[in-house]
């Protein structure tokens, strides 16, 4: 599987990343190199490997207990923009 300019622009759009025309060609190449590695991995015969769901590692269950995190002020202070207790973000898409 290979991607082209169209896919790269689409992924950039989904991630809200600005990509100028000059960068697109380079990114197409990067993407395809990475995808190429996965294509190679696909060649490995995994028929004898257990399904991931049968893996010995399972997600642990946590007890339903509340713990208060003390550093929320610090987290807010590190925000690029805030308004009192709120994080402030640029305007969201307009409603009809």
């Amino acid at each position: 599987m290979a991607v082209g300019e169209k896919e790269v622009r689409h992924v950039a759009q989904l991630a809200r990343l600005e990509v100028d025309d000059g960068e697109v060609a380079a990114l197409v190449e990067h993407f395809n190199t990475i995808l190429g590695h996965f294509e190679r991995l696909k060649e490995v015969d995994t028929s004898s490997v257990a399904d991931v769901l049968d893996n010995a590692v399972v997600t642990p269950w946590r007890d339903d207990e509340v713990r208060i995190w003390e550093n929320r002020d610090e987290a807010l202070a590190q925000a690029p923009d805030r308004d009192g207790d709120y994080f402030r973000v640029p305007q969201i898409l307009e409603e009809a």
Binding site: V52, D63, Y86
Partner: protein, 488 residues
């Protein structure tokens, strides 16, 4: 030939699970009225390096719903990342389930408003985390016009169970009934408070029309219906709109529409035209979620009686009417209270009547629930025993009931406080009361004695006053007899 239409509806119901902490971190889920961004931590703020750990209670609650709906509880499932870019998601992905939901399949059956049995297949129910809340500080609180938005992540990570139905629902009224049944179920299981207004139960609807000429209208998704009434109204509006378009040979656009309750119409949501591209992939931070067989059996063993089971038991065991049984089965607390009353010796129908009219009235007036109601079921039973034994009239019993509730006291002191004694008011006690009433109503007495009461209206009037004075505790025949003797 005129075209006919068939409505096809599928519902996605998001239920907030009643856990104390969030789905993947130990922050409190108590966000209503909380200071913005006070229940947050690196996990629900999406900080790099933080790792989610699943809340076992949330998994148990999801399993309970699955068992109640007859779903297959999938013992080995996993979490996926659903990627989309929106500020209410701190990580830019939502942890959800994709190919392996915790509950697969199932069915919900209920009676519609006409008593007809309806059965809706359940596709799946999966666990996922809630998003944060956006606040738009424009003049009217809406998005349009705001130059910036404010984000509160207190709700971010609250556990949700998304229950997805098959498109088996054929009318807006059935959609409402289905939602009522889901709400009743989650409340009864203690899985959620199921409150639509506050957002702990949220419904999205997919609705389309099948036309008799073979055409299928596109599926439209409706959002923002915050009550059962707006759900039904929104779908009724949409049925009309889609039928009109299709009837005129037009095409329905596949889109998401927003219900405006004030305007009473649905409107397309702009900016959502870009097809969703969620790029789901297994969350590498979360290994497979396993529900061990012992754990599953343990949950099944402590499942409470389901609303529809309670409903049929109340009818068959206690002889309640279908309507009464339905009212009781609305909440497990009410059923338990009725059971307690009957266990303490009360007659089932009388107990049901009293709870429905008196107890529920008080709960409504005081805006409390049975958990904080002071009158024990056994106390109500002892009061009703006096009524059953003919020792207390219904009127007197209601007075005593009010005092028991008001003062939080047992039967005996309540009777003393309201001046009621068990047993008939008769003999000299009744004579004293009659004499007092007659003395207070000389005019009526004179009229009767001088023959100016041919229809006996004034006698009835005096009799009524005496009965009222005894709080209905006198025998009517004795009162009539006494009056006849006194009024000669």
């Amino acid at each position: 030939m005129a075209l006919t239409f068939q409505t096809v509806i599928g519902l996605e119901i998001h239920v907030q699970l009643a856990t104390k902490s969030k789905l993947f971190c130990a922050c409190s889920t108590d966000y209503i009225g909380a200071r913005p961004n006070s229940n947050v931590c690196p996990v629900c703020l999406g900080q790099p390096g933080s790792l989610p750990v699943v809340n076992g209670r949330a998994v148990e609650l999801a399993v309970m719903v699955g068992l109640a709906l007859g779903s297959t509880v999938q013992q080995a499932t996993r979490f996926h990342r659903k990627n989309y870019f929106y500020p209410d998601l701190s990580k830019d992905y939502q942890i959800s389930q994709y190919d392996l939901p915790i509950c697969a399949g199932g069915r919900l059956s209920f009676r519609d408003d006409d008593g007809v049995e309806v059965s809706v297949a359940i596709t799946r129910a999966h666990l996922e985390e809630d998003a944060g809340k956006l606040v738009h500080p424009s003049a009217d609180g809406r998005l349009a016009g705001a130059r910036y938005s404010l984000v509160d992540y207190n709700r971010s990570g609250v556990p949700l169970l998304e229950i997805v139905s098959e498109p088996d629902i054929t009318s807006p009224a059935h959609a409402r009934r289905y939602t009522e049944e889901i709400r009743r179920l989650v409340r009864c299981l203690g899985v959620s408070d199921g409150d639509m207004e506050s957002g702990s139960l949220r419904v999205d609807a997919n609705i389309s029309q099948k036309v008799s000429d073979g055409r299928w209208g596109s599926r439209v998704e409706i959002k923002n219906m915050n009550s059962l009434r707006s759900l039904e109204r929104a779908l009724e509006y949409e049925v009309k709109r889609q039928r009109k378009v299709l009837g005129e040979g037009g095409e329905i656009r596949q889109e998401t529409r927003h219900w405006d309750d004030g305007e009473g119409k649905t409107r397309p949501m702009r900016g959502k035209e870009e097809a969703h591209d969620y790029r789901y992939f297994p969350d590498p931070d979360l290994p497979p979620l396993i529900v061990e067989s012992d754990r599953l059996k343990g949950i099944a063993a402590v499942m409470p009686e389901l609303p529809w089971q309670a409903e049929s038991r109340l009818v068959s065991a206690y002889g309640l009417s279908d309507d009464d049984a339905k009212i009781f089965a609305e909440s497990a607390d009410t059923v338990a209270y009725l059971d307690g009353c009957i266990r303490a010796g009360a007659d089932p129908k009388r107990a049901a009547n009293w709870i429905r009219t008196e107890v529920l009235r008080v709960l409504n007036e005081q805006k409390i629930d049975l958990a904080t109601f002071t009158l024990e079921a056994s106390d109500l039973a002892s009061l009703l025993a006096l009524v059953d034994g003919g020792k207390l009239s219904t009127t007197a019993a209601k007075d005593v009931f009010d005092v028991m509730v008001r003062d939080g006291v047992a039967l005996e002191p309540a009777m003393t406080a309201s001046g009621v004694t068990a047993g008939l008011v008769e003999g000299s006690q009744l004579e004293d009361i009659a004499d007092k009433i007659l003395a207070e109503n000389e005019e009526a007495v004179e009229a009767v004695r001088s023959g100016r009461d041919p229809k006996g209206k004034k006698v009835k009037f005096l009799q009524g006053l005496i009965m009222r004075e005894t709080r209905g505790q006198a025998d009517v025949a004795q009162v009539e007899d006494l009056l006849r003797r006194r009024l000669i």
